[in-house]
Amino acid sequence: MISDVIELVNKNLKNMIRAKAGSLVVILGPLFVIFLAGMAFDNSNVYAVKIGTYRPDADAVTTSLLDQLRDQFKVIEYGSQTECIDAIKNTDINTCMIFDANFTIGVPAKNQITFYVDYSRINLVWTIMQTMTQEVGATTLQASQNLTRIILDTLDYTHQRVADQREVVVRLTTENELILKNTQDLLAELGDLNLEFDESGFQLNNLTSAKTQVKQWVDSAISLGEKGLSKSTSFIDAANALVKTSGANSQAQANLLANFQKSVDEIKTLKATMAETKTLTQESFKKFDAQITRVQEAISNTKSNLQGADTSRQLSLRVLEAVAGLLDKSLLSIIEVQKAFNDIDNKINAIEIKDPAGITQPIVTTIKPIVQEKTYLNYLFPVLIVLVIMFTALLITPTLILLDKHSPASFRTYMTPVKDASYILADFITAFIILFLQVIIILAISSIFFSSQVLANIPEAILLLLIINSLFILIGMAIGYIFNNEETATLGAVTIGALMLFISDVIIPIESMPEAFAYIAGFNPYVLASSLLRRTLLFDQSLIAVYGDILILIGYIIAAALVASGIYLLTRRYSLQQLIKDLSPVLAKVHFKKK
């Protein structure tokens, strides 16, 4: 059995090796792909990342940061943020680094660096984010350490000052305890002090003198009254005499004498009243004097009480003087503590960065897309569509060509007076129609997901897709003309597709490849095509803005057309002979036998 297996394996290998083109592609294709991929990927550097920057204020901090970046990358400064972002769209740079106005490390709202990136090159975005995080992160870490050191120094100083003030505080506590004790003593002393007295006992002298004066006024008034009444009586007596001596009629005399009599009566009443009043007044004054005597006694008692209080006051004064002394000392201690607090406060105030965010992240980096936020699908759309077109064109076109090559009818077509150019053109147009329909279908489906994006640039998108289609169709045609069976053609197409894919920015950014490789990769049709579509669809750039790349693609198309035509002309006869072999089994058998 083993010998059978060996024989069969031997036969299989011979068959494969003797199918020259097939074995070449099978063996060399993957080798070539791995060789190139190895050359491209065998590094971990970011060789060709170009950083654009705009800083409103060029200062030492930003200059230092940029100088640090210049060691590894090419840094280009722009005059405005817009210029910088446009440069990404034009693929002049890979990221744009915008500093805050008055950029200051650790100060929120002034410590931000915004990186604008092209999210449609997602792997480059991650690479840039990683690299920039490393580069800026080192500076950020240094700044963070410096700021933390200041805080720690301040804390250390505060700790020292607080330790120094601990004795003062102990002293202050002792003094305060003493003040408390003295005050309690004073309170006890003052608590024993009886300050109660009869208020009615006040102003006795005034009352006595006032009584004497009133008595004099009363006596004087009574005396004056009695004199007045005596004079009134005398006046009435005189008036009586006058009336009686007057010649006035008796009636009038009688009336006057009656009135005089009436007044004499009233005066007599008044005299009696006054006498009574005098008596009553004498009694009241006696009572008043007795009362005054009692008041004087009360006052004497109060005076005695107040003398006791005075003694207590004297004692309290001495206590309070001691308390005042203690308070003076406490005040000094307090001033000393206050001074320490002021020093600590000044020290803390001297810390510029107090925001925790500013300390932990002195430089804030933000990544922003250069176009309006879209989903990853939106960003990847140009790359995906070119990928689909590339592989479809590379696989469908050779299949179409080989289908016809192997069709018995193709030799009959060859017999007709149709020019070679017509065959080539027909192959191109056939594949073009199929792929054009595919493009339309893709765009139609795509418009469901990204209607605004696709529809906004539909004429440009279609034109570019047709150009891209043409190029890949022509490459596919060249493959179809070179190979004579579908398997090798498919392998060849996959190899070429894989090469274009590997040497592009789909797997790793071109900028991560060695410089020479990156330069060559920049001319990779797949890279050019996806870049063109990205710039048009995502960045809304006009065809005029991307005409350089379009011209390169057109150049490729012309070159690919010439190559495909050349291969067609060179291989046509051989292909025909192969077909004849297929059509004439007898001939084929003989030829194979003899070979």
Partner: protein, 363 residues
Amino acid sequence: MDDALAEHIRLTAEKGASREEIQQLLLQAGWPAEQVKLYVEKTFKKLEQGEIIRAHSLSKRFGDNIVLDNAEFDVKRGEIFGLIGMSGAGKTTLLNLIVGFIKPDSGDVMLALPDGTIQSALKNPELIKKHIGFSTQTPSFYNKLTVRENLEHFARLYHLTEPDLTRRCNALIDLVGLKESRDVPAVHLSGGMQKRLDIACALIQDPSILVLDEPTADLDPILRKQFWDLIKQINGKGTTILLASHFLAEIELLCTRIAILQNKKIAQLGTAAELRNIYSKNYEIYLETETKDYDKLLKDLQRRKPYIAKITKEAGELIIETPQPEHVLPAIAAFLEHQKGNVKSLHVARPTLGRVFEAVVKK
């Protein structure tokens, strides 16, 4: 001198020169004017009426393998020319050289065109496309297209105008008997119908020569007969047929002339009768009995030795070659009478093409 002049005229004509140009050249070379005119006319008339294809010293090798070595032959206008040879003798290569699929390492193929000129097919490949139709063992058309669509497609590639195209397609559909199937996709046709469609496609540009390479290899005897009838019909309309086949009996019946390709050259060329005569002028008497015991007869035939050329026994059959069968047949009759109904077969014939072919190959 006259033969040399005639050959010179022929060779110059085959290089594509017109009769006026040849006359001018010969006059300039000092040939007498009357002689020039006579010989030019004669040679051109012969070329026009005679050869339609002339293969000159065709040689071809694939790597170290020489397939053809100075093969020379001519095909006459209106004939059915058969090419036979062993497998691998180079028949298909020769046909492919004639239709221009393969370029010879040396030699040329001259075509006599309807306009009277003789042109090199190698130098003017477009002439081949116009004047030669080709059909291989495998039918060559688009399976997904219908009979009519196939014919129309190839007609358009030959730049036929629309009225001519319609007329030609209809005529061919009628000729090959596919009227009922004109709108049927080719893939759904039977093997015989596909072969007929292939012939129709080969004739779409109305070529003067139809080249057929093993056209009946895949067909059963009935379909083969139908196919050969069609070929005869096409030939009857004036189309010269050049065909290669390994069905020698059919070739013998169908072909005007036959070329035997052997050792990379045309070993023999002629009509079937001529080939037979080259091989042998004898008749062959084939006898087979149930017992397959011919001893008594062989003894009797010894007595008639002057009339016996050769006696062989192949697979129980006795083959007696004789220039005068009438002197041998009485002995056979007497033998058969003695055998009493034991005879299986008895017939007298000229040697078959197969036997001629075998003889040539054995040489």
